[in-house]
Amino acid sequence: MKVERRVISVIVQNEHSVLARITGLFAARGYNIETLTVAPIPDSDMSRLTIETRGNVRVIEQIIKQLHKLIPTYKVIEHEEMIEKEMVMMKFPINESLAAIQALCQAYNGGIANVSSQHIITMVADEPRRVKHFIEAAQRFHPVEIVRGGVVAMERE
């Protein structure tokens, strides 16, 4: 069966070790989490998790059912039509071309976040695929550190 990439959002009740329940579910069943982002939903007692995962159709179906089965799970959103964004920060040596780095970042919906005596730090937030391209393109500026933030997603409608 074909392995596919899926982004699943899970709305859960904020309670003791709820994140451990979710990650434990993946670990115990041998499923893979590629990226994971979590934050409370404003003005509620819920949190939203966005999980990027891979698996064949049966695995993805099981993941969704198992997520539903957890007692604190309120909702599992698995629409394919989601707007996805991922953030990445990169650190470059100060002797690289600031102007060229800035131009590259702008092409990927980002910019310079900080410049110190030693380093240039950039920030880009874009679709996961474009973030990947950005990281590839930025290699020519000899990055010393890369921090990816994981996917966040929202249904289009």
Binding site: H16, R21, Q62, K65, H68, K69
Partner: protein, 563 residues
């Protein structure tokens, strides 16, 4: 009303109608036990090991259909309980397990007898709680009982720090549950049910595949009606034994690795499988790609994640079996023609004529199957039958004449040796009017033998029948078949004297080497109403047959073993 956390635990037991708690005290749960000391509303049964406390609560729950309750302390008390919890989880048994924990201020400091109990139980419970304040306790206790028995039942674990059991707070036990995230689907999609009913009427070679969910849903009556109305043959999983009475003309027997020839052939040749509450365990399906190759599948289950997990299902129905069958039954009645399956029933009957479930009896040595059959003849419906895990378990499932749900109590999913005896103690407490038998092996019984003391002290006369072949029998069987008889560490020739062991603990022991002695021993144990160990020396190298080798196909059973 203000009360301590410990008092709240006890109050909740009363409000939930708990009549028995199984447990073992210790440092972190002492405040709760201080309240247990004052109790008259429920009985506390002190087991001699925490694992046994949970198995006993489990046996009680399986025998009665009520929620079983166990109390254990922190650290080793809890870790000992884990096997019991996991056993109940695998078989969907409703339990509430309450463990003590070190005081909140000491959590995470590697304190004496501290363990991350909820971290450990997360993967083998339906849900669990670490209580942070006595204020939360009434809600958590109420939720725990509700979660344990509703939807797909399962064990719920509550870990209570010692200072929380001492903390005072207002006790308002909730009258209703407010769990917006937990809404099990019970009704079943009516359109799907209709489609399934039509498929049943259309089929030529249908078979009912009856699973343990029927017992949990108390749906056996409706299942029997459905089987009778349709005249469609049925197979039972290990966990569903007793759904149909043993002498029901349409019952083909148990299915799976040690299922009957006709049951496994029915599964292999059916064009429609009506799966009611099973979970397509690998011990039933054998090689998945060959399982029920010709069949469309109807699968009714309360747990959506059970449906389509291993095999593709044509008619998935999520719902409570009882509610689904109440809708399905009249629809099936409208269209079914029971005569239509006549030819199919004939085919299956022929399979049974060719290869019936049988064993070769002997006059020289006692056959283990004979012991089970004989017990069935002598006690039949009067006994609730528990087992440990191994050959004796499979022979019991094959040869005991079960007549009703909850008559057979066994660890199916986890396959826990040491389950039978404590579970039998719990069952005896739950159904005191029944004779409770535990068929066990000489390997299994030693895994919780200390419960002899519990049974005697608690006056819960359980009769253990040890099918003693001086082997770890099932492993030895696999070594015979698949490891060229290299009996690595399965020879149990060195044994305690089970008779004297029973006597040392205040019970009665019998050594049985002839059939007559067995009859006498069993009758004597029943007459005396005591905790008994009947040590039956049986044929050493008897095998459980038929057998589908692990990963093999159901239609390719080993029907005999030739040396």
């Amino acid at each position: 009303m203000q009360m301590t956390g410990a008092q709240m635990v006890i109050e909740a037991m009363k409000l939930e109608g708990v009549d028995t708690v199984f447990g073992y005290p210790g440092g972190a749960i002492m405040n709760v036990y201080d309240e247990v000391y004052k109790q008259k509303d429920f009985r506390h049964i002190l087991t001699r090991h925490e694992q046994a406390a949970v198995h006993a609560a489990d046996g009680y729950a399986r025998a009665t259909g009520k929620v079983g309750v166990a109390f254990v302390t922190s650290g080793p008390g809890f870790t000992n309980a884990v096997t019991g919890i996991a056993t109940a989880y695998m078989d969907s048994v409703p339990l509430v397990v309450i463990s003590g924990q070190v005081p909140i201020s000491m959590i995470g400091t590697d304190a004496f007898q501290e363990i991350d109990a909820t971290g450990i139980s997360r993967s083998c419970t339906k849900h669990n709680y670490l209580v942070h304040s006595a204020k939360e306790l009434p809600r958590i206790l109420k939720e725990a009982f509700y979660l344990a028995h509703s939807g797909r039942p399962g064990p719920v674990h509550i870990d209570i720090p010692k200072d929380v059991t001492a903390e005072m707070a207002e006790f308002n036990y909730p009258t209703h549950i407010d769990l917006p995230t937990y809404k099990p689907t019970t009704r079943g999609n009516v359109r799907q049910i209709k489609k399934a009913a039509e498929a049943i009427c259309r089929a030529k070679r249908p078979v009912f595949y009856l699973g343990g969910g029927i017992i949990h849903a108390e749906a056996a009556g409706l299942v029997r009606e459905l089987v009778d109305v349709t005249q469609i043959p049925a197979v039972e999983t290990l966990m569903a034994r007793g759904t149909l009475p043993h002498d029901h003309p349409l019952l083909l027997g148990m299915v799976g690795m040690h299922g009957s020839y006709q049951a496994n052939m029915a599964m292999s040749e059916a064009d429609l499988m009506i799966a009611l509450g099973p979970r397509f365990d690998d011990r039933v399906t054998g090689k998945l790609s060959e399982f029920a190759k010709h069949a469309k599948i109807i699968h009714v289950d309360i747990d959506p994640s059970s449906i389509g997990k291993l095999v593709d299902v044509d008619y998935p129905i999520v719902g409570d079996l009882k509610e689904v069958l109440e809708v399905m039954l009249p629809k099936v009645k409208e269209c079914v023609d029971p005569d239509k399956y006549q030819a199919w029933r004939q085919i299956l009957k022929r399979y049974n004529d060719i290869h019936p479930l049988r064993y070769e009896d002997s006059d020289e040595v006692i056959k283990p199957q004979w012991v089970i059959e004989r017990t069935g003849q002598l006690l039949g419906e009067r006994a609730v039958v528990c087992t440990d895990v191994g050959q004796h378990q499979m022979w019991t499932a094959q040869f005991y004449p079960f007549s009703y749900p909850r008559q057979f109590i066994t660890s199916g999913g986890l396959g826990t040796m040491g389950f039978g005896f404590p579970a039998a103690i719990g069952a005896k407490r739950g159904v005191p009017d029944k004779t409770v038998i535990n068929f066990t092996g000489d390997g299994s019984i030693l895994m919780n033998i200390q419960e002899l003391v519990t049974a005697v002290e608690s006056r819960l006369p359980v009769i253990n029948i040890i099918l003693n072949n001086h082997y770890l029998g099932m492993v030895r069987q696999w070594q015979t078949f698949f490891y060229e008889k290299r009996y690595a560490e399965t020879d149990l020739s060195f044994q305690p004297d089970f008779v004297r062991l029973a006597e040392a603990c205040g019970g009665v022991g019998y050594r049985v080497e002839t059939k007559e002695e067995f009859d006498e021993a069993l009758q004597d144990a029943i007459d005396k109403g005591v905790v008994a160990m009947i040590d039956v020396i049986v044929d050493r190298e008897e095998n459980v047959l038929p057998m589908v080798p692990s990963g093999g196909t159901l239609y390719n059973m080993m029907l005999e073993y030739k040396d």
